[in-house]
Amino acid sequence: MYSPAVERLITELSKLPGIGQRTAQRLTFHILRQRAEDILPLAEAIVEVKERIGFCTRCFNLAEGKLCTVCADPRREQDVICVVEQPADIIPIERTHEFRGLYHVLGGALSPIDGVEPGDLHLTELLTRVRQGVREVIVATNPTMTGEATALYIADLLPAEVRVSRLASGLPVGGDLEYADELTLGRALTGRLTLHRSDAFCGEGETP
């Protein structure tokens, strides 16, 4: 129907996540209407990102060069590693400013149905890094069944002297109990915390 060049662009765009055939067509016609100097930077940006950005040789985060910005930063705590499934998972953790250690990107989660086995994840590299003197590993895989299975596998894999922790599941801060789904609320109940009361308060009229 269209010329081969147009068809090719539609096909390539429709391979992107969330883009169907119709959207790909709309984008293609939008691109065709644009002036060359307005739209060519997009093509250049794609080329540049693929040429310059690769994976960090240490943690498999996205990196411009050999090491990612986190691994290259000497101020980060070198003996704590946070394990995530994908590079994109690092961003929300960084936004918290609570974590000052390093990361390790697995590149997915165990899922035999999809053919993902331990050998397909960056687990050997994690083990090597941990053996080089790591105090704690925080497993921040997703709270899904595949993420949980991966977390268990990692916990069994690592040497016993290393502390392995897992992100807690619970209620969103500032949220209403009323709107919590049953599963999250159930987990929050199971993982409930004891409130620490000051001795002075506890002592008043309520001596056990």
Partner: protein, 387 residues
């Protein structure tokens, strides 16, 4: 929760019809092929988006109709509508707002249905009983459905991993999936056990009440996990012991996905007589009815909602003694809709407080007036199935 009115269009034998129901006993009378079963099927379908008679929505459409549509108005003023057309697929609304999950329909309240196919609950294989139990569990326990889904995923993942180990993959990769099977399995088992425990006591009462000759009937969960109880270590050990066999077959055979619901009569000797194998037709029918009645009581206790009970063509197959017992139970149990080919199966005094819906002419007789009024009041809801 009860259904105050129901309207159908393009559904099975109905071009267009509406009925008003009473919150108590309703008796739908009609000869064969007047649409009795279709009426109760429609009510159930609109509230559960599924029919025990067919898994294909296109079979529900009237010959030549563009769409099948059922709308129910509940006693508390809420409405639910479900429509199916080949062009648009299935569309559900609650109070006029489109909903896309069965969960939203479930939250309207429980609904119970007996059709001749329901006998397979006793006669058929364990999968049918598990599915029935799980559907009821999802009605009354908000986290139940998620537990079922979690177990299914764990079993599928573990089976895939078993196949990979069989093909030479590292056996260690099975460990996390053992753990997922154990945690999701024990979680579902705990919920199922609570459900069956609650049902068993009431089932015994109703089954005995429906049995003219007396007898002690029971219900229990038959599970390979029974000995393990709530102990994850015990489950792990059992999986470990059968691991070589499971790698060989690439099938996870130990878990709630292999449970069965045992329906039996306790003999004076202490033995159990399995009604699936040894029950008469009448006993099996009474057992299904007793199970549904028990479910209704558990639903009321757990959710505060009793829900309507639809019984299709149940009277003709019961002997007179059982019929009397059943009607007595129904009279004291909230909304019930019973279809029958003849009102002769009821005693006049039993029909005194009941609403009779006569389908002889294909039109509701006493109920029609009230519902026609509704139809002309302009409550035609938007988003109807037919253009």
């Amino acid at each position: 929760m009860y259904i105050a009115e129901i309207r159908l269009s393009g559904f099975r034998s109905y071009a267009s019809a509406h009925f008003a129901l009473s919150p108590g006993l309703n008796v739908v009378v009609g000869a064969n092929a007047t649409g009795k079963t279709n009426l109760v099927e429609a009510a159930y379908w609109s509230l559960r988006a599924t029919s025990p008679r067919t898994s294909r929505d296109d079979k529900l459409m009237r010959w030549g109709a563009d769409a099948a549509r059922v709308e129910v108005m509940l006693g508390d003023g809420r409405t639910a509508a479900l429509a199916y057309s080949p062009r648009l697929g299935r569309r559900a609304t609650v109070d006029g707002v489109a909903v896309n999950s069965l969960e939203r329909l479930r939250r309207l309240g429980p609904v119970f249905l007996f059709v001749p196919e329901s006998l397979l609950l006793v006669k058929g294989g364990p999968a049918r009983r598990r599915a029935h139990l799980d559907a009821f569990g999802a009605d009354v326990d908000p986290a139940y459905q998620a537990s079922v889904a979690a177990l299914q995923t764990a079993v599928r993942q573990r089976n895939a991993q078993l196949a990979r180990v069989r093909a030479g993959g590292p056996e260690r990769a099975l460990d996390p999936w053992d753990a997922q099977l154990v945690s999701s399995g024990l979680e579902l088992e705990r919920r199922r056990r609570a459900l069956v425990e609650a049902l068993a006591e009431r089932f015994a009462g109703f089954a005995a009440a429906l049995s003219p000759a007396g007898g002690a009937f029971g219900l229990s969960l038959r599970s390979a996990l029974a000995d393990i109880g709530d102990d994850p270590d015990g489950y792990h050990e059992a999986l470990w012991a059968r691991r070589p066999r499971e790698i060989e077959s690439a099938v996870s055979a130990l878990g709630p996905h292999r449970d069965d619901l045992e329906i039996f009569e306790s003999l004076p000797t202490g033995e159990r007589r399995d009604l699936r194998l040894f029950g008469s037709q009448g006993e099996q029918r009474a057992a299904v009815l007793a199970l549904l009645l028990a479910e209704r009581e558990v639903a009321e206790q757990w959710t505060g909602q009793r829900g309507p009970l639809f019984l299709d063509d149940v009277m003709s197959e019961l002997d007179d003694a059982r019929r009397r017992l059943l009607v007595r139970l129904l009279a004291a149990s909230g909304q019930a809709v019973v279809t029958t080919t003849t009102s002769m199966y009821f005693r006049p005094e039993e029909l005194a407080g009941a609403r009779i819906i006569d389908l002889q002419d294909g039109l509701p007789a006493p109920a029609a007036e009230g519902s026609r009024r509704v139809a002309t009041e302009g409550r035609e809801s938007s988003g109807g199935g037919s253009p």
